[in-house]
Symmetry: C2
Subunit: 219 residues, 2 copies
DNA sequence: TAATTAAGTTAGACTAATCTAACAATTTTA
DNA sequence: TAAAATTGTTAGATTAGTCTAACTTAATTA
């Protein structure tokens, strides 16, 4: 049980997120680097250190995978991140587009007592403000196949359950379109050429791009 | 408005605390270093950097003082620290000897919105769980002359208002003696030789050392 | 006041995390 | 399959924060 730094935690979290989102086990160096906003050389150096600590499996020129221990740490960081987001949203009246950046800092506070007490204080929430599931203590990140708005055919009704992009810019745009978690969406039409959709939410119609639609998870 | 690191914040806070506790404006390099658990050489290096950023006034071989800006930052860190301690104690049911170490991390989270919302959530508390005053937003750390238990003559009654030492070891000891904030203390006797005191709290008598007594603030 | 002790500084080294520039391996594509 | 493009690695440099060991200045004391 050695010390794990703020930065190392971010690398582990990124590896889990990327493989989770892509559906593949292995992650590439460039992919990881661009996700973290660092240069590939930097990521490569860090990967060697994480390998020394037995947190990743990684051979020269091959894809990177998390070890059991690496995955546990990454899951714990995500758990903390989502619990803090829930706290900010539920208790401190932050809006859902403001919580992510602050949680990015809070997720690195080291105290298992703190996070357990926080979870209890929030009454064991299952989802964060963006609809993402909160892993339980020592638990796994459950892989759920989620459809996006892009998969919904014209004329069908669906319900928004989560967002993929957590950036403030995107979330504010979602609000502007009148959308939020648990809102019903009716797909009025879709352009063949550029997948531009017209959707109806609470009686109001809006046009949304392909990029927008693929960031909205629905059921 | 440049970036200020976690470490720099700790140095500024230490400078304010030391000068506050000693009653003197200037702080020495060794004093600062030992307070932070680093070597004097390390503190000396950091002081040069803080001087470059105009956060301290410091000439070779002279005492160190905070600039206006340095003092503001230090006060803000202390404000955050005490608000977080109050949150942990009041809302998350931490005991008063557990809050300090976690707050030592939380005090460095950068978000003025967060701390303002937290303060509101806690309903603008004036004191932290150890009886220390919480500075208001943009406010000063008010210098109050506080007597310690050591100053109370035999046969007199006083009331505990705060503790000086915030360490877990000391605080647990305080609880064991049956003491807490706002408890009344009756001074039964004192040894001339080593200042060992016998005090009575809620009908129970205990012997306490000079070191113990000087860490209890009373009125 | 001179010697001794305490306080403070400098030089040189180390680690973590980052970069740029050059190079190597792998994969894609013509 | 050979060339081109993509992906990944290495070497060398930088900055923040830390250390040890040697040195200098200031303060205390005999
Ligand atoms: Mn988030
Ligand atoms: Mn983070
Ligand atoms: Mn404290
Ligand atoms: Mn701190």
């Amino acid at each position: 049980m050695f010390m794990i730094s703020f930065t190392e935690e971010n690398y582990l979290k990124a590896l889990l997120r990327i493989s989770f989102d892509s559906g593949e086990t292995g992650v590439g160096t460039n992919e990881l680097a661009s996700h973290l906003g660092v240069k590939p050389a930097t990521a490569n150096d860090m990967l060697k250190r994480l390998r020394d600590k037995a947190l990743v499996d990684f051979e020269k020129y091959k894809k990177i995978t998390l070890t059991r221990e690496g995955k546990n740490i990454a899951t714990e960081v995500i758990r903390k991140h989502r619990l803090w987001e829930t706290f900010l949203y539920e208790k401190l009246e932050f809006s859902w587009d403001e919580v992510h950046d602050v949680a990015e800092q809070l997720e690195h506070i080291q105290s298992s007592k703190l996070i357990d007490k926080l979870e209890k204080f929030l009454d064991y929430p299952a989802f964060d403000p963006h609809g993402d599931p909160i892993p339980s203590k020592g638990g796994e990140l459950t892989k759920q196949f989620r459809k996006t708005l892009l998969d919904i055919p014209v004329g069908q009704l669906c319900k928004m359950v989560a967002v993929k992009d957590n950036s403030s810019a995107f979330l504010q745009y979602v609000v502007k379109v009148g959308l939020g978690i648990n809102n019903e969406i009716y797909v009025q039409s879709r352009q063949e050429y550029d997948a531009l959709m017209v959707i109806e939410v609470n009686g109001v119609a809006s046009s949304v791009s392909e990029k927008f639609a693929e960031n909205i998870y629905v059921v």
